[in-house]
Symmetry: C2
Subunit: 475 residues, 2 copies
């Protein structure tokens, strides 16, 4: 990589900004840390001309105005854990990082809300909520690194969406700096507020292309008092859809996760990664078995524990399940989740592979998996794929790979064509929870109509007429 311009040649607007915000807030040229050059989308590290790291909203506003006056594009950055390139700068841009805007501003127990700075790591938010006797329901693997502002910018999902909703449903108010530097403070704490348009939803999920989120009011829930879980084997996908209905009826709002694993996924996890199956019966029957991790959160172990077990026993008696194991301890629960989380280990047993995050109507998932597996194998010789996901949310993940192909050699483009082509045919979405960024931009038209994309562009043009805030992302 060629050297970035030295500070001696630093543009005047950056020097002025450094004077205004302090030396620690503006890192220019070679001082730009490696981490701010990329996100987890694994593209080439970029060469932004500077990283600006304000400590407050006024600083963010000042930075936005300065870059705008200089005509320099800005990319907002949180924990940089995005998988689609949303927070990756391009060469010559300014990265506007929230990394020093960290902390809990207030917890309001009466309103069950927490007001927090955008750069605060998710895990810190979760911990502060727990310490105050509450529960912040958003959770995902990158919890230690990702920032709450980024979680909102990408409308993060995770494992408990079926009960608590996506990130946007956990937000009551936001503060945003608009592309022209205007600070829009909308730190509402009320569940109900119909005074005019609901502006927060415009910024949540727009991946930092319409404004920079600086503070948020989060909705807190009551801390669950107990967690019940079971690992079930079912004869086929139709039985899984019936189980989902039974879980919704029998567990009601206690249902907190419903994770499905198709047989090929199960085989990789139990046979190659080597996670122990808690089920007595071994798999390998008709090749159609599907495995489900069901989780419920209750308020009283003495009541909700037996309720969960009785619900499952009845299903076993009715023949709805082939086999089931109920967690008797926290260790059991962790062992169940280890099966679901083993996908993180796939690179060590499968080698280089490509993972996907798509959405489909619930009823179509099994058909999709079968069609997609066959189509990938036909289109790409040797290509294998496995399927799993949060099916109650309409969210499927899949991993595809050609054995033996090293880093960068997997035929991603062809895989994309097969996978997203079928998504379009099934009326699904090319991104359930990861967003679009730059990585999936090409495929947006497979999930959204021309009219929808035209309206997205209209909104982008209205809010950012100069096209200087994270341009080229999403739309």
């Amino acid at each position: 990589m060629a050297d970035a311009p030295s500070t001696n040649a630093a543009p005047a607007f950056l020097v002025a900004l450094r004077e205004a915000l302090g030396a620690a807030a503006v890192l220019i040229g070679p001082d730009v840390p490696e981490r701010n050059r990329n996100d987890w989308s694994m593209q080439q590290p970029a060469r932004p001309i500077a990283v600006v790291r304000p400590v407050d909203t006024a600083g963010v506003s000042m930075a936005m105005k300065a870059c705008r006056a200089a005509g320099v594009p800005v990319v907002p950055q949180g924990g940089l854990t995005g998988l689609c390139g949303g927070s990756r700068p391009e060469d010559g841009w300014v990265a506007l990082s929230m990394e020093r805007m960290v902390g809990i501003e207030e917890i309001d127990p009466a309103s069950s809300t927490m007001t927090v700075w955008a750069g605060t790591p998710l895990e810190l938010v979760q911990r502060a909520a727990a310490e105050a006797g509450f529960y912040f329901a958003l959770d995902l693997g990158a919890r230690g690194s990702c920032a709450i502002g980024g979680n909102l910018s990408t409308n993060a999902g995770g494992n408990r969406v079926i009960r608590y909703g996506m990130a946007r449903e956990l937000v009551l108010g936001i503060e945003v700096v608009l592309p022209d530097g205007t600070v829009m403070t909308s730190l509402n704490k009320m569940l109900k507020n119909n005074a005019g348009y609901d502006l927060k939803h415009l910024f949540i999920g727009s991946e930092g292309t319409l404004g920079v989120i600086t503070r948020v009011v989060l909705r807190l829930h009551a801390q669950p008092q107990c967690t019940m879980s079971a690992l079930c084997a079912l004869p086929d996908y139709e039985a899984v859809v019936r189980l989902l209905g039974e879980a919704r009826r029998g567990l009601g709002p206690l249902l907190s996760a419903f994770e499905v694993m198709w047989p090929d996924y199960w085989d990789v996890v139990t046979k190659r990664v080597g996670v122990r199956s808690p089920l007595q019966q071994q798999t390998g029957g008709n090749g159609k078995e599907v495995y489900v991790l069901v989780e419920a959160q209750g308020t009283d172990e003495a009541i909700d524990g037996p309720r969960f077990e009785r619900w499952l026993e009845k299903l076993m008696e009715d023949g709805a399940l082939t086999d089931a194991a109920v967690a008797q301890s926290v260790a059991d629960t962790q062992a169940f989740w280890a099966l679901r989380d083993a996908c993180a280990e796939f690179v060590s047993v499968l080698g280089q592979n490509i993972s996907y995050d798509i959405g489909l109507p619930v009823k179509s998932m099994a058909d999709y998996a079968a069609r997609c597996k066959a189509a990938l194998a036909e289109r790409i010789p040797g290509c294998d794929s496995v399927y799993y996901g949060h099916i109650g949310d309409g969210n499927m993940h899949l991993v595809a790979w050609v054995p033996g192909m090293g880093p960068g050699l997997q035929p991603k483009e062809q895989m994309d064509e097969v996978i997203y082509g079928l998504v379009r045919e099934f009326g699904g979405t090319v991104s359930a929870e990861h967003g679009i960024g730059t990585a999936k931009k090409k495929w947006l038209g497979h999930a959204r109509s021309e009219e929808e994309i035209a309206l997205m562009r209209l909104l982008k043009g209205a809010l950012d007429p100069l096209g200087l805030l994270n341009p080229g992302k999403v739309v």
Copy 2:
């Protein structure tokens, strides 16, 4: 009222539209029914030049294009039960009614969704969900008359927001006709879909000023199997906030309503309307008692009924409540709700009165009620007021009146100034669930900042540059 123009003088674009859509779809001049001239905001009936009632989305699009070409403003209409004038036409406008776009298009049990036409009455949606073994959670007094499209346009609330959220949280997809007649079909069924901006939230709650909602995909829940409720008396508001916390912790997601009644409201209901109090102890102590109706929905009567009773008994033992009655039957539950719903009878005992829908941070509600009652009495001689609401949602209702003042004579303007002035001071909202329309437009600035309102105007201008869709409403 002067006669509307006769059909002989009907503008050419309406005649052409009538030819294209059929005589039943375009009612011109004197043929405009009385009901389409107004909504429940009780303003003067207007004189629209026509009502257009298409039977499908293409008809809505054609109507929008025709009116746009003619430069005539259009107001979308659903069940016309809005309280703020959002669906009231002005003289010379065209009313675009969804009244013939009625029906359930599909129920998808696997996805737990229902696709429905915008003109379908809420009650019909609820019934269709129940018949399919599901529950549509939105509920409000006007259920028999209001249309689901209007519920979404105003982001309706109701009694069970604390558990299921506002209308917007019960929607997964929408179809909208934009001001230029473009049909944007976005009938998503997935809980997770992060492919680009979430456009539906722009239209939900914007009161028909940005587009006309024609079809929607609704999120269905499992039918609750039992309902538990209790009527509690508490010594003061601090005890109420503690009870709300205990309900959230002890009942968790089963908590489905938390309705609070201040002592003056209670007195009017029990002594003047004459609803029987289910509590043994009579009120009239320190004047600070507050009454709470707590409701929970469970999945199993045998489990959740005793859980609810034990939860309440423990609170009684701990001295958290002054008195409490638990419903032992559906009739009991109805009797408890009769106390809360008695506000509908106020006109018969108080005479003409003005009712308000505001939002406040939960912790500030009692202070607000005390300050507001005193300020109203001071500003307006003889003015009395009573307070009640869904406090878990931050939503308060209040009724103010000067005894003996007949229809139209109540000093509403002065009441507005006091009530909304204090809302601003307490950081609340001038509309929690009813919307802004024309009735509250003057007060929008008491709940939203200049920057927020400027952004609303920017959005309005971007989507409706000619200003022909429901102009002058909201912003």
